[in-house]
Amino acid sequence: MSRSSDFLRRLFSSWTTALGAVLLFIIVVAAIFGPIVYTVDPFEMLGRPAQLPSARFPLGTDVSGRDILAGILNGARVSLIVGLAASLGATLIGIVIGALSGYFGGLIDDTLMRITDFFLTVPNFVLLLVIVSVFTSTIEVITLAIAFVSWPSVARLVRSEFASHASREYVHACRGLGMSHMEIMGRQILPNVMAPIIVVSSLMVASAILTEAGLSFLGLSDPDIVSWGYMIGVGRTVLRSAWWMAAIPGVMIVLAVLAINLVGEGLNDALNPRMRQR
């Protein structure tokens, strides 16, 4: 009880975190309820193209006369879901690889880290382009692909945490009791190292959103789905005459990424034991 309220107090003790949390809350609410309340189809051509905001189209229309607000609300869903799912996937892969590597060390460590290093040295976006061009670009494939290129940083972190815990005496004691490696890794060590993992994977949500936006901007994402990156890509052609068309989704991406980063930073401070002394 007091522990969790203590944690929340620490979390929101800085105004930047509070700001991030408020922003994130608004975006999440918009993503969940927006398309339910505002039921306009983002793909339907409803009016003249490139209209300025009006009562009928609160954020105007795009080059094909589609409602920009409807696009923004539906895009929020796509961005958040892709961001969360990709980050979750990357975190899971990273935890498994990092834990095995750090806990067992030796040959397993050498092999897994060689693979990790390979992924770290190849530029993520290039790898993504390869994957996306090989497979059909549905949103599921995109999400998996982003997870697939993002896990190495989690794996690195998890590995160093597990390696440091693997040599602690409580782990020896567990082995001495005959506990299985699986249980030691999952039930004994993992809870101790969750804090930094949570921080890294929350920040990874933001980078996954950016990556997805980059892909759809290039028109490589799922053509059946409206996302913020796709909207920027569409607006790009008329940037001189109708700049808001690209600017509105652009601002949304910046806000979402900023909000997630602020909250991630806040988590980092709140979960970091060294900061607790104050």
Partner: protein, 335 residues
């Protein structure tokens, strides 16, 4: 029958020294030990002499480079492959650091209950009850079961470690400096707890320490180690008779002692312990030994019986003669 028999145990660690070259740390280099049921064998030596490496091999947490550990007549390596859980129930370990030896994220009750659960020693419904009993046995109130380690002091955490080991009713507990990190007044509490448990349950201890005075009261047998080898070992009587090996003597004399007469000059060892990567030739102690003779530099002494104990020193007989007045020697009956 002996409970534990350690035969010519060797543990070498290969280490890289950069630029592709490597070396071998001779952490444990041919150690023989024997412990009978209900007995305490104390291993004493300074840091780096291989005590913990030896302890981990005995407790089945590390594999010896060569040599053998037998538990109740069965080879421990065989037992660990054939019936690992039986081995775990025979030997448990208590560690030095009260902070890292308990998992900070788990409740005391869970930590102590792990052994009961893994070895299915009591039905699930009675586990909490058994944990309470164990807590009481180590002198902690039953309500500690719901607390987290950070709410406990160092001495209390060591009691938790002892209870965790005790949970599986082991025949032997390897105690690796269990009180070295505690204050003296708390040290005595934990030592007394160990003695009481031994008398109640007949558990044997391999008790590791760097403090000869501390083990004096609890040890039935003692072995002094230097650079991976036993240099003197025997039963507790040698505390009263005095040590024969020059290193064991120095270790005994160097410890500050309340009440030592002011004028009494103690001969101090020079320098530090040499690296176990390249131990000195001949007798490993010859670089610091006040008694060195030429023979010590070239010929490694064996551990051999002298005056009712085992000593690894060429000059053991001379040390004995010097230590004891002739009449005492006669009464002592050396062969």
């Amino acid at each position: 029958m002996t409970l534990l028999k350690v035969h010519k145990l060797v543990r070498h660690f290969p280490v890289s020294r950069g630029f592709g070259s490597s070396a071998i740390v001779r952490a444990v280099d041919g150690v023989d030990l024997e412990i009978a049921p209900g007995e305490t064998l104390a291993i004493v030596g300074e840091s780096g002499c291989g005590k913990s490496s030896l302890a981990r091999c005995v407790a089945g947490l590390d594999t010896a480079t060569s040599g053998k550990v037998e538990v109740e007549g069965t080879d421990s390596a065989d037992m660990l492959t054939a019936d690992p859980m039986r081995f775990r129930r025979s030997i448990q370990m208590v560690f030095q650091d009260p902070y890292s030896s308990v998992n900070p994220r788990r409740r005391i009750g869970e930590i102590i209950g792990d052994g009961l659960r893994l070895h299915k020693l009591v039905p699930r419904a009675q586990r909490a009850e058994r944990v309470r009993e164990l807590l009481e046995q180590v002198g902690l109130a039953a309500d500690y079961a719901d607390r987290y380690p950070h709410e406990l002091s160092g001495g209390q955490r060591q009691r938790v470690s002892i209870a965790r080991a005790l949970a599986v009713n082991p025949r032997l507990i390897v105690c690796d400096e269990p009180v070295s990190a505690l204050d003296v007044s708390v040290q005595a509490q934990v030592m007394n707890l160990l003695v009481r448990l031994q008398r109640d349950h007949g558990v044997a201890y391999l008790f590791i320490s760097h403090d000869l005075a501390l083990v004096r009261h609890i040890a039935h047998k003692v072995a002094v180690m230097y650079l991976g080898q036993v240099v003197e070992s025997g039963d507790a009587a040698i505390f009263d008779q005095g040590f024969l090996h020059p290193y064991a003597q120095s270790l005994f004399d160097a410890a500050p002692r309340i009440g030592r007469p002011e004028g009494e000059e103690v001969e101090l060892l020079e320098g530090d312990v040499p690296s176990p990567i390249s131990p000195p030739s001949g007798c490993r102690f010859h670089t610091r030994c006040p008694q060195t003779i030429d023979r010590c530099k070239v010929e490694a002494p064996d551990l051999r019986p002298v005056a009712g104990r085992d000593v690894r020193c060429h000059r053991a007989e001379e040390m004995l003669a010097r230590m004891m007045p002739p009449q005492a020697e006669a009464a002592f009956g050396t062969g």
